[in-house]
């Protein structure tokens, strides 16, 4: 349970899809002009991530991983289908998004009007495929993977709503002309990411004591090892 909470909090704040990995930036920038649309797409992302991540986990662990097919017969135990992971993951995401869109349209027109238009956009949202592609590099169980998916979605939601709120306020400020729109948005996102980086320094209090310390180090280091090297060099130099 503590472990799950750990993964959940980490995927929202420390490993935030936007601020730590910059996944899903295109739609992030495109929909963050208005608070309402931002919240709509954010909800859709939580929903899709919460379901496609476990689906992709199943596909990876029972279909693609080396030896994953051994549940069919021992003859398949040496087969490694990992080459196909891109096609399988994207097919699952696209198919699921299409299905959801049709189901929502049929059963809940009200929800479709508020959410439905965003669903097709999501098939090409990097954060969905990105979350799936993180799975092979991390040894999650099914429950952990689901938690990770929901947490990442929530982190994305948080980021997009926050940026939309800032941009709505910013309509009244006097920004230099060439910087208006995209330019200033990037600088704001940079500053927000800088703020979120401070989460990386927190030791989560409910961390399990039995875990190996190396696994618990801020995941930004995992994303880019060089990054970590540079930072640690700086720290030692300052000392």
């Amino acid at each position: 349970m503590e472990n799950l909470l750990n993964i959940f909090v980490k995927s929202i704040f420390v490993d935030n899809m936007i601020f730590a990995y910059f996944l899903g930036m295109c739609s992030y920038l495109a929909v963050s002009k208005k608070y309402k649309t931002a919240a709509g797409l954010g909800l859709a992302v939580i929903f899709v991530l919460g379901i496609t991540v476990p689906l992709n986990w199943l596909a990876y662990n029972y279909l693609l991983k080396e030896g994953a097919l051994s549940w069919i017969s021992q003859d398949f135990a040496t087969i490694d289908l990992e080459v196909l992971k891109f096609i399988v993951f994207i097919a699952i995401v696209a198919a699921f998004v299409q299905l959801t869109e049709m189901a929502v349209e049929k059963f809940s027109p009200a929800l479709y009007n508020s959410l439905g238009i965003f669903l097709p956009l999501i098939a090409v949202n990097c954060s969905i495929l990105g979350a799936a592609l993180f799975l092979p590099t991390r040894d999650y169980t099914l429950v952990e993977a689901t938690t990770f998916g929901l947490g990442s979605g929530l982190g994305w939601f948080l980021a997009v709503v926050a940026l939309a709120a800032i941009r709505e306020k910013m309509a009244y400020s006097d920004v230099p002309k060439p910087l208006r729109g995209l330019g200033i948005t990037f600088i704001i996102v940079g500053l927000m990411a800088f703020g979120f980086m401070s989460f990386g320094g927190f030791e989560l209090p409910f961390k399990r004591t039995g875990d190996q310390p190396t696994e618990e180090v801020s995941s930004i280091e995992k994303a880019s090892t060089e990054d970590a090297v540079v930072q640690s060099v700086n720290i030692t130099e300052e000392k």
Binding site: G24, F86, L191, A223
Partner: protein
């Protein structure tokens, strides 16, 4: 910036060798480099632009990978454009792109294993790189293969020079190196800020500022 000039000269070589390049077609290649840049104006493909630019080496590999995927996907989709049913075109595009990316991933794993580890998920994310999907939707579906090829070349170079420019600044100031070789001497104290993802955003913001101040484009 030095990287920019390198690519511009490359493109001149292509122009001289190809008599097939009319004025209009030349525009397909040159426009995306500056006035109609996929990153700074069309706002496509930002994810990887920010995430991979920590060091020049990985960034150049990423730029080459995107170049390969975008050009080939553009040509393939353009050649198939009359046979793809409209309703399922997104899936068809995704399958073509995903297969090309799988090829790139395997080649990288075979010949540049260290780099492919460092780029981690971002090679796979070329599939959902909006530049690829955006160009397929907006251009390749309605144009002949040769034009689509030029469009792919132009857009991927436009993407490439921006990410290489960002990586240049980040690696130089973040670790005093270029392509992994020490450039700035011992006197330079590495600025950890440039190694963080946040810096990529701010540098990109400033690049957009400069480009738009030059072209006079404003957004309302």
């Amino acid at each position: 910036m030095s990287t920019e000039t390198i690519e511009k000269s490359e493109e001149k070589v292509v122009k001289a060798a190809e008599p097939l390049l009319s004025k209009k077609r030349r525009k397909l290649v040159t426009n995306p480099l500056d006035d109609d840049n996929p990153i700074t104006l069309q706002v496509l493909g930002i994810c990887s632009a920010l995430a991979v630019t920590i060091a020049l080496k990985g960034t150049v590999i990423m730029a080459i990978a995107v170049f390969f995927v975008l050009v080939s996907a553009n040509v393939i989709i353009s050649a198939l454009r009359n046979t793809i049913p409209n309703r399922i075109r997104i899936i068809v595009q995704l399958v073509v792109v995903a297969s090309l990316v799988a090829v790139v991933d395997q080649v990288l794993k075979a010949y540049a294993f260290e780099q492919s580890k460092q780029l981690s998920v971002f090679v796979g994310l070329i599939i959902t790189n909006c530049i690829v999907m955006g160009r397929l939707e907006a251009f390749a579906l309605g144009n002949k293969p040769w034009d689509s090829l030029l469009d792919g070349v132009g857009n991927s170079l436009g993407y490439g020079w921006i990410i290489i420019a960002i990586a240049f600044v980040r690696e130089l100031f973040g670790s005093g190196k270029l392509f992994g070789a020490q450039v700035l001497g011992d006197w330079y104290l590495n600025n950890g800020f440039f190694a963080t993802p946040a810096a990529a955003c701010i540098i990109l913001g400033i690049i957009i500022w400069i480009l738009r101040a030059r072209s006079g484009y404003t957004e309302e």
